[in-house]
Symmetry: C2
Subunit: 900 residues, 2 copies
């Protein structure tokens, strides 16, 4: 039996189901499922994603059996729709669309009205009784096919769309303004001119044979899977190349058959806020692409989303169709138990569903929908937690504009994607990327966005467009990215050439600062102050559920009482990394630190360190107090000493004057501390071993703070003293001896003891390899995956910018390993370290304190390898909590699949 590459649907039944998303793509599975549910769907068939993979494996060829399968499926469609593909009298017209497993908005190309030629157009005219409609459909088809399949596109950024040039010329010569002003005759002439243009520019005849047209379109869909835009999108979104795309061939229905026709897109709930209301837009007498492309500003489907009185809702304009639509959307949401993003067309009053899929939403909406659906008993808590993307959560944790801040609102648009963003205005995607690369915050301002702008949108703080509705490209993509977007801001007049936009009587130039409020649709001049987010309500509920599910702890990286307090509010269960660097830098301490560095002997260093001790004791006191008995992992001094001395001659002179020492002494010290590779130099425990008095002072400050807090305020502390940069058991033992001695001295003074642990960072590759030995005396490990990545890869984080981005572009690395832990390589060191450490010390406490501790994929890894906790910056704590819950959910899902 040969493989089934083609799956038909229509007339209340289908070969496929919703569960076959991987094979049929999201759109194909949705169409099949809708058909199975009895929802009116134009008949059609799906060529599987598997076919795409086979196509590439066979070097862009097809297996023999495909043709037969397609012809058979087409025959089914003909039967259901009562028309014949290529028939001159009663032609079946089809659309050809891509459909990958996950939606890739705008990435893949679509062809409508396929099957038209000089003969079948007459049949269409006869069937529709509308000559103008027939020729308009035909000229749209030729234009679309010419662009998408035959590749007649502008050759440079400056060039306008060549078809549009011909169109404009005709309109000008006829003295008309709108496309709709063109007559059937004009359109017929346009078809001929378009075909001539194709012949001239591409050297090929436009194919009159409908089957040739179909094969060309299929080829174009598959081809676009490996187009530059699709590749870029996949890279940005982590979609594997071998997933492939399906092709959906479906009978055409027309929203542009007159005032009793229309087309629209809708969400079953509000994708921005999550409110449970039917949310959508439509256009009368238009084809589907017109809504998505954002060329005409669409109208709301009902009153709940109406924003001004002049708008006419679908509910009012076509009450019967609206009622059907309403019953269908309710049916679909109930069936899928998930918010749906649907596309529909009304042809002469009859409603057809063209698509249903899980709707993209903002983080806030995701949280509200999930919690609401639990309340509505549609889903359970686990599913609710699983539906919130940890990486998306970030949006909710970051500031919004301060309501009390002064705002100079210069324009209003649609609140397309919530958030508060300030940045400098740029007008081109390229510029956005190059400015951002230089560290600038930018707002990308476009008349409307297209898939070419993905790169710029990705790096921008926010997006502002002059045209397009809530479901325009800009809006959909921005929401997906969790980026603030104000769309359809008609008040602004964008001039790409002069790189400026005008609003009212102001001119905003490239580089000027503006702020966007994506929740209100406001555009403000300058930078506006922000406030912290509210973490209670639905958000709190979801986080609570996540905490019930997750197994590993979540701590924070914090080194001040303030940050500690913020982190506790975000749910941190302890401090996983308290860096002590700033405790040597702040205020007067730097003077004592410099005195220590310049000292010639132990006595001189001890004298200087004695001055720093009380400050550090106070620091720890404050942190221990806030943490109120939660564990606090304190890393002893880590950076090389040269970081504490001024490098510039002038600053050295100032320091010399202040310290009353010759400038030459400072210069000489700076020179003697200079290192070729400071990253691999005299730092971490290497400092503590050369100058044990530094470690002794820090340990003393820690234990004195803990004792004082207990004595004065009866608050317990659980310090975990962490020795940095250990590579050998000898280093660890040396420093542990110093720490234990300080502890004993302090406890003797206070006449009571504090429970404490001494452990180490595992951040040197060798440490992971000899973890069994280190665990003989180390009571805990904390993986410093930043340095482990630096040394394991041999990448200096400060310098890797010169090659790392191109490594990701070339596919040498799937991701920047400083952002997402490299599980293939560095992960092995982590796993080895844990296994060997626990072999020696069964109950060894293990955590991570690199920046990966707040990155969802990495958190899942940490869960999988059996860490006790992850630690991350305060604002990432909720992300980590949720990611930790997801790790458990994924694990049980895998287990369930295995058990099957």
């Amino acid at each position: 039996m040969s493989a089934q590459y083609v799956y038909a649907f229509g007339d209340g039944k289908a070969d496929g189901t919703a569960g076959m998303k991987n094979l049929l793509g999201g759109k194909g599975a949705g169409l099949a499922e809708m058909s199975n549910l009895g929802v009116p769907v134009p008949a059609g068939f799906t060529i599987t994603t598997e076919m795409c993979t086979v196509y590439y494996k066979m070097n862009r060829k097809y297996p023999k059996e495909l043709d037969g399968q397609i012809r058979k499926a087409m025959a089914k469609v003909e039967k259901i729709m009562g028309a014949k593909f290529g028939d001159e009298k009663n032609p079946l017209l089809v659309s050809v669309r891509s459909g990958a497993r996950v939606s890739m908005p705008g990435m893949m190309d679509t062809v409508l009205n396929l099957g038209l030629n000089d003969k079948t157009v007459k049949g269409l005219i006869a069937k529709s009784g509308n000559e103008r409609f027939g020729w308009d459909s035909y000229r749209r088809f030729v234009q679309m096919y010419g662009d998408v399949v035959l590749g007649l596109k502008p050759e440079s950024k400056e060039e306008e769309d060549p078809f549009e040039v011909v169109l404009s010329k005709m309109k000008k010569s006829l003295g008309v303004k709108l496309d709709t002003d063109l007559s059937a005759k004009d359109l017929k002439k346009l078809v001929a001119e378009f075909k001539a243009l194709i012949k001239k520019r591409k050297g090929v005849e436009f194919p009159e044979d409908p089957w040739k047209q179909v094969w060309g379109a299929i080829e174009a869909v598959f081809g676009s899977w490996n187009g530059a835009r699709a590749i870029k999108y996949r890279k940005l979104n982590g979609i594997p190349e071998d997933w492939g795309t399906a092709v959906n061939v479906q009978a055409m229905v027309y929203g542009n058959m007159g005032e009793d026709s229309g087309t629209g897109v809708a969400f079953t709930r509000d994708p921005a806020t999550g409110k449970n209301l039917f949310f959508g837009e439509y256009l009368i007498n238009a084809q589907g692409e017109d809504v998505v492309a954002g060329i005409r500003t669409p109208q709301p489907v009902n009153d709940s989303t109406k924003s001004d009185k002049s708008q006419v809702t679908l509910q009012k304009a076509m009450p019967k169709a609206y009622k059907t639509l309403e019953s269908i959307y309710l049916k679909l949401e109930k069936h899928f138990k998930e918010m749906q993003d649907i596309e529909f067309t009304i042809q002469r009053g009859k409603l057809w569903m063209l698509q249903t899929r899980t709707g993209k939403r903002t983080a806030a909406a995701a949280v509200k929908i999930a919690v609401d659906m639990v309340r509505e008993k549609l889903i359970d808590k686990k599913i609710a937690v699983g539906r919130i993307e940890p990486s998306q959560l970030d949006q909710l944790l970051h500031p919004t504009f301060d309501p009390k801040a002064k705002k100079n609102v210069i324009a209003k648009g649609l609140p397309a994607s919530p958030g508060a963003a300030s940045g400098r205005v740029v007008f081109h995607s390229d510029d956005a990327e190059s400015w951002a690369a230089k560290g600038e915050k930018v707002i990308l301002v476009r008349i409307e966005t297209s898939p070419e702008d993905i790169g710029g949108m990705n790096v921008a703080q926010g997006i502002l467009t002059a045209f397009g509705g809530m479901t325009s490209h800009a809006a959909v993509v921005a929401r997906g990215m969790g980026k603030c977007c104000v769309a359809g801001c008609g008040g602004i007049e964008v001039d790409y050439k002069s790189k400026l936009f005008k609003v009212k009587n102001m001119t905003i130039k490239e580089g000027d600062w503006i702020s966007l409020d994506g929740s209100k649709g406001e555009v403000m001049l300058g930078q506006v102050a922000t406030v912290h987010p509210d973490l209670s309500g639905d958000f709190g509920k979801i986080m609570g559920w996540a905490d019930e599910i997750r197994k590993i702890g979540v701590r924070t990286n914090a080194d001040t009482p303030h940050d500690s307090a913020v982190a506790v509010k975000f749910g941190a269960e302890g401090i996983g990394l308290c860096r002590t660097e700033h405790m040597f830098f702040e205020g007067d301490r730097i003077k004592a630190m410099r005195e220590m560095i310049l000292a010639d002997d132990v006595a001189g260093r001890e004298k200087a360190l004695a001055k720093i001790l009380p400050y550090q004791r106070d620091d720890f006191y404050g942190i221990f107090k806030v943490m109120a008995g939660r564990p606090v992992t304190i890393r002893l001094l880590d950076p090389p000493l040269h970081e504490f001395l001024p490098q510039e001659t002038q600053n050295q002179a100032e320091m010399a004057k202040e310290m009353k020492v010759p400038a030459a002494k400072i210069k000489a010290k700076v020179a003697s501390l200079h290192e070729i590779n400071p990253m691999l130099g005299h730092r971490g425990c290497r400092l503590g071993i050369t100058y044990p008095e530094i470690s002794a002072m820090q340990a003393r400050a820690i234990f004195e703070a803990a004792c004082l807090l207990k004595k004065k305020e009866k608050i317990d502390s659980h310090p975990e003293v962490m020795i940095p940069l250990v590579g050998t058991i000898g280093e660890f033992n040396h420093q542990k001896t110093v720490i234990d001695k300080a502890a004993q001295e302090v406890f003797a003074k206070y006449k009571f003891k504090i429970e404490y642990m001494v452990g180490t960072m595992i951040e040197i590759p060798r440490a992971a390899l000899v973890a069994d030995k280190i665990a003989e005396n180390a009571e805990f490990f904390s993986f410093g995956t930043n340095d482990l990545t630096q040394m394991g890869f041999g990448y200096s984080r400060d310098d890797a910018g010169k090659f790392l981005p191109s490594y990701v572009d070339l596919g040498i690395l799937p991701e920047d390993p400083f952002q997402v832990l490299d599980q293939e390589g560095i992960g092995q060191l982590v796993q080895l370290g844990i296994e060997r450490g626990r072999k020696t010390r069964k109950k060894l406490k293990v955590g991570i304190c690199g920046e990966h501790g707040g990155e969802p994929k990495s958190v899942e890894f940490c869960h999988r390898v059996g860490m006790n906790y992850v630690s991350c910056s305060p604002y990432r704590v909720p992300v980590a909590r949720l990611a930790a819950a997801h790790a458990v959910l994924k694990e049980s899902k895998k287990q369930e699949e295995k058990d099957k």
Copy 2:
């Protein structure tokens, strides 16, 4: 049954044997074996090394049974020697000496004449009939015991020995010059004064009880095992701490009982040249320590070592004793099948053997003795090869003075240890160490050396002493270290205070250059030119035998035809690392290289690279020609580009002028290429990926050279192109594609193919971890253990000098991991890399090209983990060949022990 801690010997039998060296120490095992052989040995007993370990484990206490075992052994000695320990009339006197597994000259302390007190001295006088001898022995004992056991030593460098101060004072007050001028009465008075001095300075009474004396001495021997000097020696020589030392208690015999008595040390063959002649020195009427300490210049034992006519040989002075000695040395060498270092004492005409052990020798002597003994059928080839220490071989491979060079010989001493050394004069061990740390070559000049000078001797190029013979401390230690030494150079007058020495009418000050010829005993002014060594003869034989034994290949690191030729002469079987850096630096190439770096685009870079291509092709042509078909591993460009640009403003200006570009452009390029951690920056294959045109040019040069050589001279080449700094399979694949493409292009041009391989350095920790993946396409691995050590430990080699020496001193690391491969940690990465690589590609060729490739312990490791070859600098090639043979010998020895 309790453990046996005491082993007796004497009177033709012994509890122990030569095979029990680990338990009895070298000296104890030698005494037992001699006793078993019927050689006259004063009776005694050995307290085992195990006891030393137990002693430290019990916190410096002894197990109960020890006392009984010692008393029983002492009773045996009393019986054999016909005297009684502590007896007033017929006292048995003993020596107490240390004896570790391996000889540690001067490191451990010795006490002679133990058992004397105010009463037993009278018995000794009565027995010897010599009052002066009795009191002299007593005062020597008190002095030695006071120093070694009771710790009365100079408290600072400036202070003279306190006992010597008292002695000098007495001599002065009596108006005499020599110790021998002192009468029995004077010596008696001295004993009392010495005892008073001990009481005053150390606050303890000198113990009169002989048993207390014995226990004190045992304690001192064990204690000295952990003295600073012993620890330092162990560290320098890689002797484990837990080996411990034995204690030998042995009846005294006296070489200072008059003109019919004497003492001496001898070697059964010449330890400097290896010649088969009995080689030794003696002193009439002296105790053993007098010879070793080098205070009096001893006389030769026979004519073969006589250097001037005034000397009186033992053969002449005491022909009977000499004859006995001769028969004993022949017996011993035949028995041990090894050159022996023996100590003897003649008491009133009777010869006693005090020690026999394997004699230390120079590398040249070791080679000659080994080859001679094979000729003499004493040993087989394997044993001969096993007897040459690879690390010692270095001496033979380095230059000697050019016989044609002008030499200004200013003094002559004894040729104590061969070699040619030039350096700047220093007079103190500390100074030698601090000068050497600054990179200075120094010659340590001393009146005589003592164990305190070990550190300085170790760093010096050579050692020159004014006193002491061929068996003096300086001579023995220098030979052990393979260092050039001229000893007993009476013509020089050393003034420590003014830091100068006078010779004839010249004054040589600290810092002046001198040269030493250790084979001739010549001291020359200034630096003298050198010539290369001869590698034929015995040396060639040994190397040939080693080649028969070894299993892994030995290649060299060479990047010029000259170095390649030297290496082939030394036996290199290929090039394991041909660096290509200098091929971009030399002559005019640097201009083109700079042009390439400054180019703005690929075209500009390719234009500049085209200028470098012919040079590199010629380079490879020359190397391939010399290597004549042997494999040549070529590493593509590795260092970061900034190394090719001038860093100083002035040099930048010059470059700008020469290249006719604005200086600002160069400055800007230098700034843009600056890196915080260049070691972890944009270098290695990262460069080749950013600028594939560089790799392409290098590959082209390699293949064109190989094709040309074949075409023009019919010589084959086997290039192995090595991609540096690979961490991911993606990097490897990228560069392999570039290389293969260049190969195909060149082969197409020449219309024939060259066999080549493409492989990679494994020098990034991650590469070792994902070696299974990399081996999918890499045809060979070469471990770059320099960088692997840098990244695995997180040590920048350029900066680690700030902490690494103290790590070795503190015992945190056993050795500098850049010198000796860290098998515990980095070795794991190597092993993992090989295992995983071979899992994917069974026949994967694996080598090492870090500097460890020429270090004997590391070579053994490379053999053990199954590498195909090691690669090292040309001069290390013979060392590696020998070390590789040793690895096989050790392995079969282990296997034999396992099979038992």
